[in-house]
Amino acid sequence: MSALRENWRIVLLVVLLLGSTVALFVPGAPPGTAANETAGGEQLTNLQYGIDLSGGARIEAPVVGKTAEGIDVGNQSQEAPAQQAIANQLGIDPIDIEVRAAQQVNQNGTVEVFDENVTTDEFRTALQAEGYQPATIREGVTPETRQRMVTVIQDKITTSALSGGRVQEVNSPGGRNFISITAPGRDAQDLIDILEERGTVRVYAVYQNSPTGNWTQDEVLQQNDFRNIGNAQTVNNQPQVPVVVRQNAAEQFQSDMSQAGFGSGARCGVEAGAHDSVDTINATCLVTTLNGEPVFIGGVEPSLGQSFADGTFANDPQFVMTTTSMQDARDLQLSLQAGRLPADLDFEDGTQNSLSPALADQFRSNSLITGLLAVLAVSLVVYGRYRRREVALPMIVTALSEVYILLGFVALAQYPLNLSHLAGFIAVIGTGVDDLIIIGDEILQQGEVGTARVFQSRFRKAFWVIGAAAATTIVAMVPLVGFPLGDLSGFAIITIVGVLIGVLVTRPAYGDILRSLVLDE
């Protein structure tokens, strides 16, 4: 028992090594992974590989748009009319304008335009024509819009069967912000094609105009008028998608609907598959189009129609869109959720990288060989220097166990490994071996170590140098962690975590190993 307590550092090292083994090799061990995912797969470990090592594409691009800040646009109910008015002034689709009222008192609202053809001057003129006085107009969009971009892109990537894709908002210290998208197994052009597919969802009320008798198609809801899209489901053998309309859009929607004559419900009687466009429908229907093509054509239940007429719909603004098949219901759900990016991405001003899976495989095995060769070189030098197996061998084993624990950590965090991270591993081996040499020299080369006390004092002296060196390495790497400089932040994180594992666990444990070896003699 006392032997355990005396050698608690070694015990800790062994515990961490076992923990890393679990994290690396037991399927489903890292949180967020499924046990069966790896069971039948070809993957040997729980390590995640980034695009450098598994193939795929990464795109980083800023969002196209301009933001006018410091505008008093009143409260939220005034957002929609303002959006329409400004869009009319600029002669663009209202979908490319986003008006946000102030969220708190003493704050001002913002207006964004997502059409790249609108110049700052035109935007300012349009705003002034509507009686708004923007304090500033800047390139870029608001954080809210970027966050929505991230959500929508994530949805798009998931629906297009790109598993394992990552979408992130990246803010750089210079104030430039961009969206970073990583998708394994695709090349950059495929990814751009998926993103540029602008699925626009619109909801129309089709009705017979009462004085003229013409069939009229009124757009009553847009994509961003929905607050929540439910999951496609089957109720009473009817595939359907429940939707909730935003409060401010709901009032407009119910009055539009009751004016269009849906107040007592409508029996539509038209199949969605029968029409290519909303313009050819001659029946009183509610029509949802995706990129102009009807995906849902339906009537309105009398009870729902009644709630439009008496204005109670807005109190609980939800209804269901029914479809003919479950597949249609799913498509509709996906289109509503992820149909269209709120704004375009400016690919030309971004970066893009893609790597073929074949080359990535080569990189994976070759970088492993490179790493092993480097370890071999280190081992030879260390052995050549000390010529004592009992000193050199634990040194190499300790340095390797540092890497192993770091790998366990990476597997546990499900951090996708790229080439730059491997460089970080090599940096960790380098500083690790350096520190072990310091410990070894300090303890072995100043005469015989007689007692545990002498050993302790020498070890503490060595540790001062190691701690100081580790602190400088960490200080040198910290600025990179927060910087969006390609993969460099990953490199820095690996190096810092590795140095911490080394200083706190493995290097002290080497001291203990050495102690038991020299004191035994």
Partner: protein, 289 residues
């Protein structure tokens, strides 16, 4: 296998002036190289695509590709064509006038070419990277300097660490300019790694000389024995990494390896000529002032 011992250098043979002259001259030459590069290109280092914007394709081709042929396929934006050692893979670099989608299309249409890897950085991103990398290296260097002063709390030993780390960075950058290695994000990482490595041996030396009992030369020798072993171990690892990564065509690891070999070699010189001299001066003359 060859055993090695770190030789004991008889520092008493050399005057401070003699010892310090070599590292200072090398540093001056390196700074001169940076100044000339700055005068000629407007930037003290040759910047790669990560910082200027531009594109790069790695293609597989059974036929050798010359720069002329590449220009024929891709147009005037071709900057260089480089064969990956012993493999039928070629890295073609383009300036920032080319559109990456056009380049990949051109490669696909050329026949016999398979695009293995493509990458592009816009000039806007490039200049942003430049700014961030400069700030990053600056902060790292400043943080390291402050830490050095906090650790030793005396001017000369602390500034010795800072100067030698500075020289450790400047010398590899100058050599990169001379042999035509362009600065990339990977080499910036290597330069930062260098700050960490360089300081290790300096701290070790200062610690032995200032905080331990024993004479100056004895302490120096002890520190050297450990420090030189450390640095040589790292150099060995980096040489192997640089060679293996070059053969395998893993650019990032190869450039990190090369920069570290250069920097660590410079560090041997700076630590055991520049730093030792400053410490000796401080120990024998500076302290008495």
């Amino acid at each position: 296998m060859v055993a090695f011992e770190v030789p004991e250098v008889d520092y008493t043979q050399y005057s401070n002036r003699q010892l310090i002259a070599i590292p200072l001259v090398v540093l001056a030459v390196a700074l001169g190289v940076l100044a000339v590069t700055f005068a000629m290109t407007g930037s003290p280092v040759a910047l790669g695509n990560d910082f200027t914007g531009g594109s790069e394709l790695k293609v597989q081709s059974s036929e050798p590709i010359s720069e002329q042929q590449a220009t024929g396929i891709f147009g005037d934006s071709v900057v260089s064509v480089q064969q990956v050692a012993n493999q039928n893979q070629y890295i073609i670099t383009f300036d920032n006038t080319a559109e990456i989608s056009d380049l990949t299309t051109a490669a696909e249409q050329a026949g016999g070419l398979t695009v293995l890897q493509s990458g592009s950085t816009s000039p806007v991103f490039g200049s942003q990277n430049q700014e961030l990398a400069l700030i990053g290296v600056g902060i790292a260097f400043l943080g390291m300097s402050l830490l050095a002063f906090a650790l030793f709390r005396t001017f000369v030993p602390s500034i010795a660490i800072v100067i030698s780390a500075f020289s450790d960075i400047v010398i590899p950058v100058a050599i990169m300019n001379l042999v035509g290695i362009k600065l990339s994000l990977g080499t910036v990482a290597a330069l930062l790694m260098l700050i960490g490595y360089s300081v290790d041996s300096d701290i070790l030396l200062n610690n032995h000389v200032l905080r331990r009992s024993g004479g100056f030369y004895e302490s120096t020798y002890r520190a050297m024995r450990t420090g030189v072993t450390m640095t040589i171990t790292s150099i060995a690892a980096m040489i192997v990494m640089a060679i293996a990564a070059t053969l395998f065509g893993i650019e990032l690891m190869a450039s990190i390896g090369i920069v570290l070999v250069l920097g660590l070699t410079a560090d041997l010189m700076n630590t055991y000529m520049l730093n030792v001299t400053l410490l000796r001066w401080y120990k024998y003359e500076g302290v008495n002032r």
